[in-house]
């Protein structure tokens, strides 16, 4: 407040000698200023998000290939969309994605909520320990994926050693990244390690938003702790839990970097999530038209699911 009055005093003196630019802006109405402030962002998003999106839609109707830029482009109509929706490989990729998204979200929500519940007990030093727990989610998913391949090494990796130590099996008897049954779980484990803190942080905000007097009233009514948890804590934290699920669901549906570094989609195509299929089609087999159509289908899917989910979220919030 002090510098406000100080600088306003200066302005009184400065008004007569205002530079031309300032005077011109002074002439601007609020409406003009609003557009002046918002337009640059919109222009950037139009150029780097919307124009490419429109281009993708156009390409998805053609047989264009990025590695044969000079070949004549043929209009194919909705052929690619029909091909993709009936392609068993695409459905396999969608199943892998669904397995990954569902398990990571379930594990992260359960563990994350549990951690938030414990941290909410406000033991001594909870602030410092919370920051430590949050660290994994701030790291680069690609770098995380890369160093987990080291931990997952069958003979020398720490993960295999610890599992061998705890279960008595031999450390080289299983390969987390090379085995068709284990590798889908290997990527779930790394994602859960990285993103459980994210869900925890949002749940913690939910738990802290519940006012004490509600619990006090429940105590007066002699409601058991168990009952309090199910009829106060959980329902009141639910919008926050759903928000966390929404964000994690969308992010993991788009998952590329971490899985690409961990398994590259392998062995075979057992961990080939949708984004990796898309990358292979677009940047390895250079089927640009085909991959554009797949990209549009993915975008519509995530956008549609997110919209339905946001509606449900709002209903819970307004209850």
């Amino acid at each position: 407040m002090n510098d406000l009055s100080a600088s306003s005093r200066i302005t009184y003196g400065a008004v007569p000698v205002q530079p031309a630019v300032v005077r011109r802006i002074r002439g601007l109405s609020d409406k003009a200023l609003a557009w002046l402030f918002i337009t640059p962002t919109m222009v950037l998003l139009l150029a780097i998000n919307i124009f490419p999106l429109v281009w993708t839609i156009y390409l998805s109707f053609t047989n264009y290939r990025a590695n044969r830029a000079n070949a004549p482009v043929k209009w194919l109509g909705i052929d690619w969309y029909q091909t993709i929706l009936t392609d068993p490989d695409i459905w396999a990729a969608m199943q892998v994605t669904a397995h990954f998204v569902i398990w990571t979200v379930v594990i992260e929500t359960v563990v994350g909520f549990g951690l938030a519940f414990l941290i909410d007990k406000k033991f001594r030093g909870h602030g410092m320990w919370t920051t430590i727990i949050l660290l994994p989610m701030m790291l680069s998913p690609a770098v995380v994926g890369n160093f987990w391949t080291f931990l997952y090494q069958p003979q020398i990796g720490l993960f295999n050693y610890v599992v061998a130590f705890l279960t008595g099996r031999s450390a080289s008897s299983f390969q987390m990244l090379g085995d068709v049954t284990l590798s889908p779980w290997a990527i779930v484990i790394v994602d859960a390690w990285m993103w459980t803190p994210y869900v925890m942080l949002i749940c913690l905000a939910g738990l802290r938003s519940i006012p004490d007097y509600i619990y006090e009233a429940a105590e007066v009514d002699r409601a058991s702790k168990w009952r309090q948890f199910w009829s106060i804590t959980l329902p009141m934290a639910l919008p926050f839990i759903m928000l966390a699920v929404l964000f994690r669901g969308i992010e993991n549906f788009k998952m590329f970097d971490m899985v690409n570094l961990l398994t590259g989609g392998g062995p075979g195509s057992t961990t080939e999530v949708a984004s990796i299929t898309l990358k292979r089609a677009a940047f390895e087999s250079w089927r640009t038209g085909y991959s554009s159509a797949f990209a549009i289908i993915l975008f519509v899917t995530v956008f549609g699911l997110a919209n339905i989910y946001v509606k449900a979220l709002n209903r819970v919030k307004n209850r």
Binding site: S7, S8, T11, I25, D30, L33, A34, W35, F37, I38, P40, L44, L45, P52, A66, L118, I119, K121, F123, G125, W129, T131, I132, L134, L135, P136, M138, L139, S140, P141, A142, V143, N146, F147, W148, F150, Q153, L158, I202, A205, D212, E216, E219, F240, L243, F247, K254, F256, D257, N260, L261, S275, K279, A282, S292, A295, I296, F299, V302, F303
Partner: protein, 317 residues
């Protein structure tokens, strides 16, 4: 005093509960830190210690990983190495012990510098654009405001690979492929949606009365924005900037698809650090450790604003 205590104890957890909760959290924190600590330890191991079984917790520290990270080496005969002069510096000595000589610097430093330039460039742009737009959305009546804000957010829902296909073609046409400028613009467009949403929340919290008072004192709207709102929003702007920095620093999908030599950042480079006979784990670990240090610092700085940042400002404390 005793009445205050009993009134409190209804909702306050008992000391026993607290201790149990505390120990469980500490246990989780320790387990979750093990992979990170392991990478830091590995960066100080010799290649033999890094791949020994059982894994070594106690070892003689070695700087070989860091040396290999920063240099390229070529194998020579011991006779040739004996003809060279005395080793210059620690890395020279370690390399010669392996019957190799330092051939030159590796690509790690240029990639790291690319990361720094692209991250800072895109952050400055995104925060500048984001602050202006956020102020516009916060204070003025903009037609279709909610739709525009939703549109800005929805650009984040596109899978990065889907965006990369047309961007690849577009950049190839206009000559932005594998340039720092191209990556800066791309990261700015991704970050600006976060910046607008976060900063709108921060600016909404600054009372309008401050600007109105300043305008009554003779400020124009623009001056009020610069001299009253911006100083009040400093914390929010700083927090937003750090979030943008972290995103650009960590980004991999666009970097690996759209850059190759010139503008490549560190995340696509670190996994391809290879030594003789497969991956050079101590060097990879050293590269990872150095790359993660800024993030650890940022996380500690940001801890009060983390929640807001990761939810696009949807949840505030």
């Amino acid at each position: 005093m005793s009445t205050a205590n009993t009134a409190h104890s209804v909702v306050e957890p008992s000391p026993g509960t607290r201790r149990l909760a505390g120990s469980l959290i500490v246990l989780y924190a320790v387990i979750t830190m093990i992979p990170l600590i392991w990478i830091v330890l590995t960066s100080f191991k010799s290649p033999d210690d890094a791949i020994s079984y059982p894994p070594k917790v106690v070892f003689t520290p070695s700087f070989e990983g860091f040396c290999n990270l920063f240099t390229t080496r070529s194998r020579q005969t011991p006779e040739f190495i004996r003809t060279l002069g005395p080793p210059q510096g620690l890395c020279d000595e370690i390399t010669r012990g392996r019957n190799m000589v330092v051939a030159g610097p590796s690509n790690y430093v240029p990639r790291f510098i690319n990361s720094v330039i692209i991250a800072f460039g895109s952050t400055v742009l995104a925060v500048a654009l984001g602050t202006l737009s956020a102020y516009g959305f916060s204070r003025f009546r903009v037609p279709l405001k909610d739709d525009l804000l939703f549109f800005i957010l929805s650009t984040r829902m596109m899978p990065p690979i889907a965006v990369a296909i047309p961007i690849y073609l577009m950049y190839r046409t206009i000559g932005l492929s594998d340039t720092r400028l191209g990556m800066i613009l791309l990261y700015t467009s991704v970050n600006v949606s976060l910046a607008v949403w976060l900063l709108k929340g921060f600016i909404d919290e600054i009372p309008r009365e401050y600007e109105e008072a300043a305008m009554i004192d003779g400020y124009t709207r623009f001056q009020a924005f610069v001299k009253v709102v911006l100083p009040q929003a400093t914390t929010g702007i700083a927090a937003t900037a750090i979030f943008c920095l972290i995103f650009a620093w960590n980004e991999y999908a666009f970097a690996v698809l759209l850059t190759s030599g010139n503008a490549q950042t560190a995340p696509p480079f670190i996994p391809i650090i290879i030594g003789e006979g497969g991956q050079d784990w101590p060097a990879v670990a050293a590269g990872t450790t150095l790359f993660l240090v800024p993030i650890v610092v940022f996380t500690v700085l940001l801890r009060k604003h983390l929640l807001r940042g990761i939810t696009f400002g949807a949840v505030r404390k």
